[in-house]
């Protein structure tokens, strides 16, 4: 039997970063950032930092659910773009159309997620390529909806987003809300099935788990969290941009890895991914405040993401699996 003994170099990558490594990175990122960014702990800096974190945190939760189900969604960034441009078109700067805009964004997430789920679970395409292909469809559609950056979000929304309630930044509350949402989902049958399907699809199928439906649910949840990310993007920037989500896809995967979820599926959780997302956002901050020349900034950011992904490959940082 394979798997019951350790085969050096033969085992497939089902690696998982340990929780200690995730927290360690967060602590280091916070320390470095607070050293470089003036007034890091001031209310203003905290508010604006958290405001930029939310989109990545939200999309990281969505990516985690998809990854746990044994898939991956490379179209999440494009979904953020599409949901945000559709929402900004709908709201068109008018506060009274906000509910419709939110509904439209969530609807886009739902439809995109359902399409991905359909393609992966029912047409049975490899998730990585299938969502890669749909990402082109979604970003193309985003360009059709909003060919150039523009559109506006009601001022009340952007103001509220950067306000504080009981001394806590609204953006921080949004992150806590996302955590709460994850906590609830974790106690739901759908997520249990997501873990089972990601851990061993054949076993899950033989155990009466509705595998296809569970996979579709995972992608739909992913899409809904992408829609939440889109709303946060709009609230943060105040206008639409048909390229806004491009960078988010890879960052969401990196956040998942940093957060200790195995890309092989079935193991991990969104709590770590949320921390991972914050680590990545802090690193972007650090690169900005460390006075890296503009022409090198992208190189550094790209290298950091690769390094973050590489961390999961370092044995010392990996979570030990229970011994058989």
């Amino acid at each position: 039997m394979s798997g019951t003994f350790s085969l050096r170099g033969v085992r497939l990558p089902a690696v998982q970063l340990s929780g200690a490594a995730t927290v360690g990175m967060l602590v280091v990122a916070v320390i470095v950032n607070s050293a470089l960014q003036p007034n890091f702990w001031s209310g203003y800096a905290l508010t604006s930092n958290f405001a930029t974190f939310v989109p990545l945190v939200a999309i990281a939760v969505g990516q985690t659910i998809v990854v746990l189900s044994g898939g991956i969604d490379l179209s999440l960034g494009a979904q953020v773009t599409l949901a945000s441009v559709v929402a900004v078109r709908v709201v068109d700067g008018q506060l009274d159309r906000l509910p419709q805009a939110v509904a439209a964004a969530l609807g886009v997430g739902l439809v995109c997620g359902a399409l991905n789920g359909l393609v992966v679970a029912l047409v049975r395409l490899q998730p990585i390529v299938a969502t890669f292909a749909t990402s082109f469809v979604f970003s193309g559609l985003a360009l059709v909806v909003l060919p150039t950056p523009g559109g506006s979000v009601p001022l009340e929304v952007t103001t509220a987003y950067r306000a504080a309630v009981l001394g806590l930044p609204v953006a921080l509350l949004a992150i806590l809300g996302l955590a709460l949402l994850w906590w609830a989902l974790r106690r739901h049958r759908v997520l249990r099935h997501v873990y089972a399907v990601g851990g061993d699809p054949e076993a899950a199928y033989a155990s009466l788990v509705p595998v296809a439906r569970t996979r579709v649910s995972a992608y739909v949840l992913g899409g809904l969290f992408a829609a939440l990310a889109a709303l946060a993007v709009l609230a943060n920037t105040g206008s639409g941009d048909p390229f806004v989500g491009n960078e988010l896809t890879l960052a969401s995967v990196a956040a998942v890895v940093i957060g200790g979820t195995s890309l092989a599926g079935g193991r991990g959780g969104a709590g770590g991914s949320m921390l991972g997302a914050i680590v990545l956002a802090l690193v972007t901050n650090i690169v900005f405040f460390a006075d890296v020349p503009t022409t090198y900034r992208q190189l550094v950011n790209g290298a950091v993401i690769i390094l973050a992904l590489a961390l999961a490959g370092i044995p010392a940082l990996q979570k030990r699996r229970p011994a058989a």
Partner: protein, 521 residues
């Protein structure tokens, strides 16, 4: 008594293979019904049609006289059928409780889980197996942290938690210890008393006679006979299972000489005392091996015995450079054997025929040609790079003839071959590399009787040519037939060495079992 289960004319085709060709099975409630047949006879496929993981191409299934359509596991469940599979369907990352209730989780409103109810249900299902676990029931441990036998028990408990009318046990005892088997049998007898029909598939005839009431024998996907076990013998069953002599020349397991015609070799391998010591292993230690030392002579077959999973496979992997070694070394013909990677070990003259053919031994989608060439092509390549198609074909042909592998074309994917021929391809790829040391991990597992004998002949032939052969086998008869010496392993260490006359099945069994804690014969 009217039949609870009636399957008739069940057919299933996989690509070019007719796995089931009009199989039938009739069984009544309160019966333990054995499903027997050689490998590839369609037992597992028939089990799977019942469980809904395989949908037959045609055929009729009646439960309680009513026609049943089983299009998936959910249909089977609705009909009161639960199955325990040959390949575990335990999800390693979920806890034991989560596994037992998987798919039928007790939930409160809106699909939120009810943890307490789940634990109660799991505990109830596992209670009757308490004796099979050392200590408390591991309800909250991840299933992957349990031993293979314990996982198998969880699997059975999961099926029982579904309160089936029909329980399918497909090779459910394969990874169980003897005492776990006893616990399982006790539960099966209780189920029988409660009117459940148990369909029991096993290779072990002793178990079948110990537990079952009747047996249905399959051959080539067809039902050959259904017999009452109280009025039949083991020999008679074997006669039913092996094909008619006209179709394939098969010997009874006690008379293996027939198949050795392809590889000239002495019938008994126990003649190797004369060879010089070729392989010396000193203090080999890994995660799962403790200070293993031994020597093997050229031309000797060293058997590895003991309960399964005591480090036998790990020892073979370690000698092939595929395990992380923390201490110890090995010398081949006086020179240090590189144990750091399979590639180095292979180049030093070591070959491994792994235990899991599909996952570790062959390249199912690749042509037979490449499967055979791969281990040795570097010898024939120019500048270690350029291959000559003709030379590769010659090499592959020579091995196909030498091992009488039954193939269509060398360009066919190896997956199109039968299990026995696939295994011969895996062995053949190494023979082309002319290894000094051949490590065999259960080489005859999962192949039919005829192919088994041919593989035995190959093993004897290798030893006769002076190779060092180390053979792990889960089949004690195989060990007695092939080995010159047997090392009995227990928890990763050599517990006993059996030589020549002391290698008997009884001795192997007692040696393996006496070592298990709290075990008596």
């Amino acid at each position: 008594m009217s039949a609870l289960l009636e399957m008739t004319g069940v057919r299933k085709r996989y690509g070019g293979v007719q796995a089931l060709d009009g199989a039938s099975l009739t069984a009544v409630r309160g019966e333990v019904h054995a499903l027997l047949g050689p490998n590839g006879s369609g037992k597992s496929t028939l089990d799977k049609t019942l469980a809904g993981t395989v949908v037959p191409d045609s055929g009729e299934i009646r439960i309680d006289g009513a026609e049943a359509r089983i299009g998936g596991p959910r249909d089977a469940h609705a009909l009161g059928i639960a199955a325990v599979y040959q390949q575990l369907s335990v999800v390693g990352d979920l806890t034991v409780t989560q596994n037992v209730v998987l798919g039928l989780e007790p939930a409160r409103r809106l699909g939120f889980l009810d943890h307490r109810a789940a634990r109660v249900r799991a505990a109830t299902a596992l209670e009757r197996f308490a004796a099979a676990f050392s200590g408390r029931l591991p309800l909250d441990r991840p299933a992957a942290s349990l031993g293979p036998g314990e996982q198998q028990i969880v699997e059975v408990a999961k099926a029982l938690a579904r309160e089936p009318r029909v329980l399918v046990l497909d090779e459910a005892t394969a990874s169980l210890h003897k005492e776990q088997v006893e616990v399982l049998f006790e539960v099966v007898r209780e189920l029988r008393a409660a009117g459940v029909l148990v369909v029991f598939t096993s290779h072990r005839l002793d178990e079948v006679f110990a537990l079952c009431d009747r047996a249905t024998v399959l051959r080539n996907g067809r039902t050959v006979a259904t017999v009452d076990l109280s009025s039949t013998t083991e020999d008679a069953l074997v006669q039913l299972m092996v094909a008619a002599p006209a179709q394939t020349p098969v010997e009874t397991p006690d008379a293996p000489q027939g198949a050795s015609r392809h590889v000239e070799a002495p019938v008994s391998g126990r003649t190797a005392e004369s060879g010089a010591v070729a392989l010396v292993v000193r203090g080999l230690t890994t995660d799962r091996l403790r200070d293993v030392s031994f020597t093997v002579r050229a031309g000797e077959v060293l058997g590895l015995g003991g309960l399964q999973g005591q480090g036998q496979s790990e020892l073979l992997l370690a000698l092939f450079g595929a395990a992380r070694i923390t201490a110890g070394d090995a010398l081949l013909d006086g020179k240090a054997l590189p144990l750091t990677s399979p590639a180095r070990a292979a180049r030093a003259g070591v070959a491994l025929v792994p235990g899991d053919r599909a996952r570790q031994g062959m390249f199912a989608s690749r042509p037979i040609q490449e499967n055979l060439s791969l281990a040795s092509m570097r010898r024939r390549a120019r500048l270690k790079l350029a291959l000559s198609a003709a030379a590769e074909r010659r090499a592959a042909r020579s091995m196909v003839e030498r091992l009488s592998i039954k193939i269509g074309s060398l360009n066919d994917p190896v997956a199109t071959l039968s299990g026995g021929n696939q295994q011969k391809v895996v062995i053949g790829k190494w023979l082309l590399d002319q290894p000094r040391v051949v490590l065999l991990d259960d080489p005859a597992k999962g192949v039919d009787v005829a192919a088994k004998e041919e593989i035995y002949a190959i093993v004897r032939g290798l030893a006769a040519e002076g190779a060092v052969v180390i053979l792990n086998s889960s089949d004690n008869r195989e060990l007695t037939e092939l080995s010159d010496r047997v090392l009995v392993l227990f928890e990763g260490a050599v517990a006993e060495e059996l030589t020549a006359a002391s290698i008997t099945e009884n001795r192997l069994v007692s040696s393996a079992l006496r070592l298990a804690p709290g075990e008596t014969l």
